[in-house]
Each structure stands twice: as structure tokens, then as C-alpha cells.
Symmetry: D2
């Protein structure tokens, strides 16, 4: 089924992204995985190519388009290339909106140009050892010290945690508990008392640095408050829909790509004197996955269009998130199996997709949290 949501401009941009990946990413990716991190130079290359800050106004060096479909194209291509370690989607779609949407003019000037060149790599730090799904449990706290905030606490599982130059930290700014009293503070590389833990050893996404962050009496200048004081929770809620769409878009793209690889594999691989594809079970596996992908694609493209138009609600973003990532998980598992022993070898894309993809149902709001959001809304 031909997709109907893209124009020639989007497809041209797809070409640009593919070229970039083929030249700047794929040849080096295995090394980055061994290193557990992407070199800063790769970020700058992405910046030069215009891949950073698609939605940042041109005056700050960005792409100046709020059309989410460009983001979708970028995410799709990075996913197909198995290159999520260079976390451009996170930077653009997930952290970007906090800066473009909430920053003051002064802050924009300070941060956005570097954001777009790749000089300023970003992260967002919500999760803590004791607070993941339940953000109201956040304990990192900032005390008002007149001209600055005194920040104490720790965060964990922070993507770009090692590389980040700018971290949006969710912290409690009043002792009142719960959702109220959270604010967004921007912590920058080099601030005294801001330390990073080790680069966490994950079962997948090896090139992506994920780290613990520690804040010991970090003096965060008042100018680094992002958005409303005590309004952090509302800001998170506003921006989570796009985070979820970003992950969902990657989910369906991964599933489609796995299906493509595996379809080719079973046509090629022989057993019992003929291609696997001639076995009915294999045929049914492919038919079932192809159907699930086609069905999900129709939904996702509708969600992308709606989100680009600003009409996607939280319930549908949550549906897209859990459904597409659970599909990705199922498809990865089935495709690995269809590769037999080769599916277990790290060098096979299907093996890497299996381990890389496993996190998708967890971060950005777990499948279970998505179902809570949907269920509560429908049953209220």
C-alpha cells in the first residue's frame, strides 16, 4: 500500500538522510558500538548536514519547519540503518521542543545555535533510581538561594548522559509533594558538582551512551529555569506526546525493516532442498507479519498526519507508542527465529534489531503506563 502522507520535499529529505547515514554513520557504527559511545564529530557532521534542529526557527540556525513529517522521515531512516545510537531523534523531537517551546529569547540565543550545529548535545533527565514510571516520585530537589538554585539528587538511565552538554533536569522546587512543585532546570557541562556515573552496560543500543547523573550542590543560575516555576509537570505532559510518537515511528519502521530483511532471507535460504519460503509455516509467518505491519502503518501514518497538524491527543499517542513498539518486539522475535542460528549472531542485523529494540516498550513510558493512560481516559 503506497504511503500517502509525504510530498516530494519529504522524499528529497529522505534521500539526504540516507546519504548522510551511508557516509557518516554506517561505516563507523560497529566501532561506536565497541566504544559504547558516538564521537562528537558525528554530531557536528549531522549539524552540518542540517539534520539537527529541524523544528528550530531559521534565525537560530535551525530548519525552521514544524512539520513533524520531516522528523518522521529522519527517524525512519535512522531506524532502518540500525543507527539509533546517534540519538538525533531524541535531541530533535524530544528535547528540542522544550527549548523552542519554553525557552526565553535569551535562552534561545544561548542554546539553540549550538543545538543546531551539534556543539551542544542535549539530554533530558527525568528518571531517578526510585522514580521511573511514577514521575511524581522524583526527589532531586533544587533549593532557592536567591540568584541561583542549589541542586541535589541523582538521575539514572539518561540517554546522551555522557555526551550531553546541556541537560534538562526535572527537579522539585518546592517541598510540596506529588505532581506539583516540579520545575525544569538546565544543567550545563562543567557546572561544579555535576558529575556523571559510568556509561551503563546495556544489552542493546551499544553505541548510545546512557548514564547516571549526580548533582551535589550544583549552583544552577536562575537564568537556567526553563518554563514556569513549579510548572514542570505540565510541561512534561505537553511534550510527552511527541516523545511517544518519535518512539512509535521508530517502532513501526523497525518492524517493516525486519520484515523486509527476513522476507529476503527466507527466499534465499534453503533447507530440505528448497527455499524456506516454500514451507507453509514460513509463508504464514511472513503473511501475518506483513499484515500486522500494513495495519499498523495505516494507523501510524494517520497519527503522524494528525500530529503534524497538531490534532493528535494523548490517548492516540499512547496507543501508537505501545502498539508499534510491541509489534516491533514481536516481529523482531519472530524474524530472529526465522534466521535460525544466524539470528543469534551479533553481526546479523536481525540479532542487533532484537536487542536494540527491546527497550522500546519501556522508555518514554512503558506499555503498561500507556494502557493506564488509555484505559483511564476511556473509562472516566
Amino acid at each position: 500500500m503506497k504511503r500517502q502522507i509525504f510530498t516530494a520535499d519529504h522524499e528529497a529529505f529522505r534521500g539526504t538522510v540516507r546519504t548522510f547515514l551511508a557516509k557518516e554513520v554506517t561505516p563507523h557504527y560497529a566501532r561506536w558500538e565497541r566504544d559504547g559511545i558516538v564521537p562528537r564529530e558525528a554530531w557536528r557532521a549531522a549539524g552540518r548536514q542540517g539534520l539537527l534542529g529541524l523544528a528550530v526557527p531559521e534565525e537560530y540556525g535551525g530548519g525552521g519547519t514544524t512539520d513533524f513529517r520531516y522528523s518522521a522521515v529522519l527517524t525512519e531512516e535512522f531506524t532502518r540503518a540500525g543507527a539509533a545510537g546517534l540519538a538525533v531523534g531524541l535531541h530533535n523531537d524530544i528535547i528540542g521542543p522544550y527549548l523552542t517551546g519554553l525557552a526565553t529569547e535569551e535562552q534561545k540565543r544561548r542554546w539553540l545555535p549550538g543545538f543546531c550545529t551539534g556543539e551542544i548535545i542535549t539530554a533530558i533527565a527525568m528518571t531517578e533510581p526510585g522514580a521511573g514510571s511514577d514521575l511524581q516520585g522524583i526527589r532531586t530537589a533544587a533549593e532557592d538561594r536567591g540568584d541561583h538554585w542549589l541542586l541535589n539528587g541523582s538521575k539514572t538511565f539518561i540517554s546522551n548522559g555522557i555526551l550531553a552538554d546541556l541537560v534538562v533536569v526535572v527537579a522539585r522546587t518546592t517541598p510540596e509533594g506529588g505532581a506539583k512543585g516540579l520545575s525544569l532546570l538546565v544543567v550545563e557541562r562543567g557546572m561544579a558538582g555535576f558529575e556523571r556515573g559510568r556509561n551503563l552496560d546495556k544489552i542493546g543500543q551499544k553505541a548510545q551512551d546512557t548514564a547516571e547523573l549526580f548533582f551535589h550542590d550544583v549552583r544552577v543560575p536562575k537564568e537556567n529555569l526553563l518554563g514556569e516555576l513549579h510548572g514542570g509537570f505540565a510541561h512534561l505532559m505537553t511534550n510527552l506526546a511527541q516523545e511517544r510518537m518519535n518512539i512509535a515511528v521508530a517502532g513501526i519502521a523497525a518492524a517493516e525493516h525486519l520484515l523486509e530483511i527476513t522476507t529476503a532471507y527466507v527466499k534465499e535460504r534453503e533447507a530440505f532442498g528448497r527455499p524456506l519460503a516454500k514451507l507453509q509455516h514460513i509463508r504464514f509467518e511472513i503473511a501475518e507479519m506483513a499484515t500486522e505491519c500494513a495495519v499498523t502503518r495505516a494507523f501510524l501514518d494517520r497519527c503522524i498526519t494528525d500530529h503534524a497538524a497538531g490534532t493528535l491527543d494523548a490517548v492516540h499517542a499512547s496507543m501508537a507508542k505501545w502498539w508499534a513498539t510491541e509489534l516491533q518486539k514481536r516481529v523482531a522475535d519472530r524474524c530472529l527465529q526465522l534466521h535460525g542460528g544466524y539470528g543469534y549472531m551479533s553481526e546479523y542485523p536481525v540479532a542487533k534489531a532484537f536487542t536494540d529494540g527491546r527497550i522500546q516498550t519501556i522508555y518514554g513510558g512503558t506499555t503498561e503506563i500507556m494502557k493506564e493512560i488509555i484505559g483511564r481516559s476511556l473509562l472516566s
Copy 2:
């Protein structure tokens, strides 16, 4: 997610169908179920209301529109009303195209006006005791006797089998086997040697008559050949996509309706001192089904649009057929469970939907046959 495929005209037509159902069908439906058949008068009422022959040119008394979306609206409303026993969709979407697409001018004049008034109720007879999924196994045969065909054989599971005035019979017209050599012959009520078996006792769809048909030396006039001699198989292939879409449209509509009923039920029903809806398991059930329905709806609406535009291929029609009907089955089972003991009581719509719906993954091409079609196509 608001559906985007209908215009005001379609919605006006939806109103007409609802009114018709409320007045002419729902009040009598329980009786029809007990009788195992719908009275002919109901068909005539549908005809008067303009519900028969939507796609038949106006000159023969039909609606004159080939826009499949009207058919979809009609199927959706009949499904919501649990009124599939009055098999208007079968008549319009499945048998209609054979007549409008293949009949000669003379045949059109003979049959289409009655088709539209409800005087001529139709059926299509492919399946035989020994040939269901495998139509190439058909053994009913017609011998060329100069000015007529001499038809012998039997068919089974024929919907409208008791009521039908006109039956499109798939018969072998040359002794060469396989797909070649099948033709479509129209057998009419009253032809000597054409007999009907008993109205089959099914676990659901009680108001729909389903019967065996027997042909003993039936003389079918040459003028009753429909389409190409020996070209029956190709004619079937052409028309099966629409049959599958018709069933798929009913499938997703049934699922959505069940979800609606059940959402209301769990908000109302109390256990352990509060509504079932307050239990997390129940919330997740509803969230999962709502997601599956939303995802499938996006795909189906795309398929409906494509089919209306004449661009839907066999693979996607097959995907829609098996996916939507398997969803319907899963949702019916889960919704029944959520009703507890009440779900097992025939008077509850959810109970009826469970038994009525179970056939959907079987007729019109089983789930397994759909997967074969998809798999073969993708792996060739």
C-alpha cells in the same frame, strides 16, 4: 479519532439505514431468529427503502452509485444492529457485482429490477460438500445439451439458500479439471430438478437461512449463462475482493460495537464495592481492545477508500478480511468474558455477537486461505 472517509451524503444515508433497521428489523428480529429465516416482506421493505442494489444503475431501479462507501455504511449499520440475518450486504456487495458486471443487457432487464425491489432474492453457490476452500474441487457439472445445460450436483452452506429466487451456481462446463472449465449458471426458483435441503442448524446467525441445494437434471437455459463460458474461475477471482471487504467491514464494525457495549457495561456493573472499570485488569482489557480497534479502523478506512477508488489489490483485501475478522473474534471473546455469567445468556447482545461472529473467519475464504494468498504473493 474522527473518521475522515465519509461525506455528509454518506452520513445521511447512514441515518436512513438506521431508521429502517429501527422500524423494520430490530422489533422483529428475535422472531426471525426463532423462525430461522427472514420473511420475504422484510426484503421488499428494504427494497422500498432503496437499500437493495445500491450499485445497480438507476435505469434498472438501483441506486446508481458505485461508491463502495455506501455499502460500507450499510454493512456497518446492519452489523451494529446485530441484524446480519437479513443478508442485504450479501445480496448487494457479493452477488450484485456478478449481475451488474457480467450480465447481458437482456439478463439485466430480466433480473435487476426484481433484485432492487426485493422480489428477487439472490444467492451464490460455490461451496460443495467436498469443495470449500478448494474451489477447484467443484464437481457440480453442466452438460451442454444444445439449447440448455443439464445441471447435476449439489451445493452446501448456501446463504439465502431457502429464500433465494436466483442462484448463481458455479459449475463445471467441461470435463477438464482444475480451475479451468468452471462457468456461472443462473438457476431460478421453480426450475424442475432444483431442490433445497433443510435450513441448516447453525450455532449463530439464526435468522439467516443457510441450506444445501440439489440439482437433479436441471435444464438451465443457455440464456442463463453468466459471463464467459469456462471463465467462471476468473469471474470469481475478480469479485472475491469485494466479498472480502464486505466481511472485513462487518468485522471491524462488530468489534467496535462490542467494545462500546462493554465499555458501558464495565462502567455500570459493580463488584467489590465499585464499578468493574476501577479494576486495573479491566482497564487494560478496554485499553487493549480500544487500541486494536483504532489501529484496525485506520487500515480498514484506507482499504474502503482504495476499494471505492478501484485500487485495492487482492493482497490487501485478504489482509483486511482475516485481520478484521480475527480481531472481531478476539474482541467478542474478551467482551463476553467481561460480562461474566450474563455474557453467556442469549438475550445479551454480547452473547449473540459471540456466536453470530464466529463464522466470519471461515466463510468468504478462511483466515488460512487469506494467509496463503498474502504469503504466496509476498514470497513469489
Copy 3:
């Protein structure tokens, strides 16, 4: 895998049950289904054959064995025969223990002989329109009037509701709420104010009468209190494990029987020029179901042995209940599908098994309630 839990005596008893079914039940069963009820004479025949009151001491006319394996044999054979409508298992395994375990000597004399001859058909009435899973919500209440209880309220979904001569009614005997304050009162046929509603129309188990019961100022003599005053809830808890085992035993037996029928069917039925059994998908279906049945059988036989030895706990009885009945449901659905159109015809055993079996995950404690029991226990 040969079963290892039965002795020659059990197998001899199996022979007796089979003979009884073949002679007294199977030839008449279709009629009983049409009637919606089993004639009292069938109960008396079962009594004469020694099938009623297996666990009732011989002095009261019973079988005098507390070996649950005989019960299992009886349930298995009734299930294979599709004859659950003659609810001997309910009478023996579910209601019997209340009488043998809680009745006073005087009560035993009054009720057990008739229980064993089939003169006294029994029922147990827990469920109310507003209280199913949540028995603490029971509102039927009995007021102490000195020498009798004045009973008011209503029950629903009561198996044997029309036929029953003796109904164990769970009623509130003190106004204090919750689990405390429930007692078991025996209501007998003919007591003034005890009325039965209509025989409920179910989607399956057509020969089994299920009814609402109404109590308007029924004077229940003090001698009809069963067990401890206000101790009803504890009595229920004690006896529910056996109820669950009875249903689980039927569940796995049904699944095994369906598999047997369907294995034979796919070996026989031809499509595309050879038996269905030659298709890989069909082979996998059979292999998967056979594995699930074998795995479940091993567990169930262990549970039967443990229960016969008095060592089965509530958690494992709950596991057996939900697992075996959900398996039965899945297998019934798959086997129906494998029969194609024939699977939808009421006369086919697989069709009947599909509708008859659907209640199994609901009564005797729903799947969800079983999971609650297990989960709570493991996580406490």
C-alpha cells in the same frame, strides 16, 4: 503418555459410566437440548447405576469412596460424551460435600438417600443479580424468627434451578456486612414463597436448566441450617477447591476430546487433492494443541492425585481451574476453525463443544478471580 493415576477399579468404573452414557444419555440428548432440560427419569437411572453420591457413605445409599479419582473418571466421560447437561458432577462433587461434610446426622438421613437415588436433585445458590465474583455482596437475607428463618431475596444463574428439589442457599443471617454473617440454608421444593424464574436461554449447555430463584418470605425451618451459623463463607471456601477441580477436569477432558475428533477430521477431510493433514499449518496446529494437552494433562493428573490425597491447596486448584478451562476455550476455537464451515453447524460435536464450553472460564470463579487468588498468595 500413558496416564499413571488410575487402577483397574477406576477403569472398570469408566466402563460402567460409558455404558450408562451410551444407553441412557446419548440417544436422548438432542431431545433434552431441545427441551432445555433433562427428565427426572434420567437422574433416577443414574442413581440406579450407582453414579450419584459416589462419596456418600454406603449407609446412606452412596458409593462410600472419598477417592476423587472416581469423580474425575465420571466427569471425563460425561465431558467426552458432551453430556454435561445431566449435571451429575455438580450434584456429586460440588453440592455433595456440603451435605456429607456439614449435615447433621438427622439431615443426612433426610437427604442423602434421595441424593443417591436421584429422587432429590440438588443445586447450590450463591450468585445473585448483583453479586457473582464478589460473594461478599450477597443480599439475600434470612431473619431469625425463633423456630425458623424468614428468607427473602433472589438468586440467578442457578444450575439445576428448575429441577432442584433441594437448594443450598447462601444467605445473610446477620446484618453485619462482608464475608461474615453468611449462612447456608437448605430450601426445599414446595416451600411456600420459593419460586423459580424462567429457564434461562443460554448460548450453550442447552440441556442444562439454569434459572433464577426467588424467595418471598420463605419459612426455612431451623433444622435446615447447614453447618455453622454465620460460618457460610468459610464453608464455601473449603468446598470451592473441589468445585474448581471438577471444572478443570472437565476442561482438559474436553480439550483432549476435541483434539481427538479434529485429528481424525483433518486426516479424513481432503482439500487441494490431499488430506488436510498433509498441510504444514494443519500439522502445526495439531502439534501445538497436542503439546498443550499433554503438558496440561500431566499437571491435572498431579492435581487429581493430590486432591484425592487431600493435599491440594487453593492456589493450585485455582491454577488448574483457569489454565485447563482457558486451554479448552482455545482448543475449541482452533478445532472449530479446522472444521471449516462444518464447525459452525450445531450438529457437529466441535460446534457444540465450542458453545457448551464457553462458560467454563466464568462459572465456579472466573479466570480473573483465579488469577487474583494466585497472585495475592504468591505476592503476600
Copy 4:
């Protein structure tokens, strides 16, 4: 449910294995994983502890027991410890029987003592790049050169491929194709022309060396033929049941262990102000997995007993293999999810179990091949 298949002797042996693991394996395991291989010294330690060659007659230095339950105990404990990299089970249960069952007296004297001390580490090489599921596709061939065989070809995915001192190689000894004409040849470390490829990079089981093996004009002395000339296929068939049981035993043990870890985790971990265990969804997850484990355990224990008694057939071994490993896979996935972000961190046992376990449904005969075996047998 208390397991009933072990005696005090088995449990004493369990203690020995645990002590060994705690002392000799667990403290070093992370290093072995980094190294991608286990040091030979660990094998010798296992030998000293009496863990190698349980079934080898005492005269050759073995344990002298053919009671498979000891093997099961050993496999269970290695699995619980996440220590499958030290492939003692493979050595004992999978390769051992070829030597004890097929070797001549002279061969036994040559190989078995070292087998038991850990001086001779073994491997079996069936799979080739072009022949995995389909062993009849084996192309490695040995030409008869009078006093020796000239062996040419290559194998892949060979466990212990790097460490092995003795490799049982399946090779074609006559040019006639298919199952006939395969023989087992023992290739030993140091034979000229026998080379090993690199240690393959797998997504899990990092401490286990898996390698390609190459044979270029290797002169294998006639004395190294194992079993019947051209009788290799039959020998494989005889021994595959035990290979499958070994893997199945590991599968259920892994699932049970994961459930244990995760049950503890959800009782401990808090979100939304209380332990995860208080959430109904979590409770249901645990209840469902506990039920599946209990059900499968009953079946596996029956299979272990039967296999120890020599009565387990190929069909039931295949059922055990696919069912237990698919359960392991499902449970690993669900348990990982229940750990949230922590489940993705390599240091968490649940993460390692997820990647380590993924191969189980593939090697030793894939799930699909198991279903073929079962299906064919039941439908023949």
C-alpha cells in the same frame, strides 16, 4: 507443589553442584563473559568435583550412574546460576552418550578418562553453513583412504568449538545422498588440517565459545570412526532425545528462576507509593507465569522420570523441548519488562537471562522442527 521425583541422594548432589558453582564459577563468570571463553582450569575443577561424566562407567573414571535425574539436577543448578557458558551439560548429556554408547573398548580407554577429568573437552559438529535443521544436507565428506579417512568440509555454530579437544564430526562417508551415508568421525586437537575459525560473537551466552571448524584434508585414523559406518544418522536420532531433554530441563529451570527473581523484585520495587506487587496487572503477570511454570514443571518432571526409565519417546521429548524453551522465552520477556529500565542493564540477571535464553528455541532442533516431528507422528 513439591517436586516428587528426587531422592535424598539427588538433593545431596544438588548441594555439591551449588557449592561448586558458588566457589568455582560465579565469582569468575563476568570475566569469562568478557573473555568469550571459559578457562580450561574450570573444566578440570569440574572434573575434580565429579561433575563430568556422571554416566560414564566408574572404571573409566566416571560417576557410573545412568540415572538422568542427576543430569537434570546439574542442568537446573547451572541454569539457576546463569552459568551455561561452562558447557558441562553439553559435554555430559549430549556428547557423552555417543562415547559411552558407541565407542569400542579401545576408544573408551583412550577418551573417557580425560572426558571425566576435564582434560578432554568435547564438542559435536553437525551443523554446517548450509545445513542446520536439515541434517540430510550435510556436505562435509570423508573419503576412504585405506587406513584413514580424508576429511574435508566445514562446520559452524559449534559449541566448545574453540576449547574442544575431541570433536564428533558428522560426515558423509559415501557419495549417496540423504540420510544414508553419514558417519561419526572423531577429530582430535592437533590433527593436521583441522582449523578453527573465530569465536563467534553472539548476542548472549557470552562465556560459551561457539566457532566454525574447518577440515582441509584431515587424516582421521580408521580407529576414530564412532559407531556404525554409514550409520551416523541413526546414531543421531537415538541421541537427540536426550539432547532435547537437556535443553528442556534448562528451559523450565530458567523460567522458574526468572519468576523467583521477579516475584522478589515486584514485592520490593515501589511506584506510585506502594510496591509494584500491589498493582493488579503485576499480580496477574505473576499469577500467569506461576501457573505456566507449575503446569510445565509437572510435565517436565514426568518426562525426566520417563527418560530416566528409558521410556520417553521422541514425540514427548520434542514436546518438552519446544514447550519449555518457548515458555522460557515468554517468561524472560515478561520478567524483563517487569524490571522496567533495569531489565535492559546487562548486570541484571533478568537481562542476561533474556539474551542467554534466546537461543534455546533454536539449537538442538528448532521449535518448528519439533512441531514437525510431533505433527507428523500424530497424523501418520
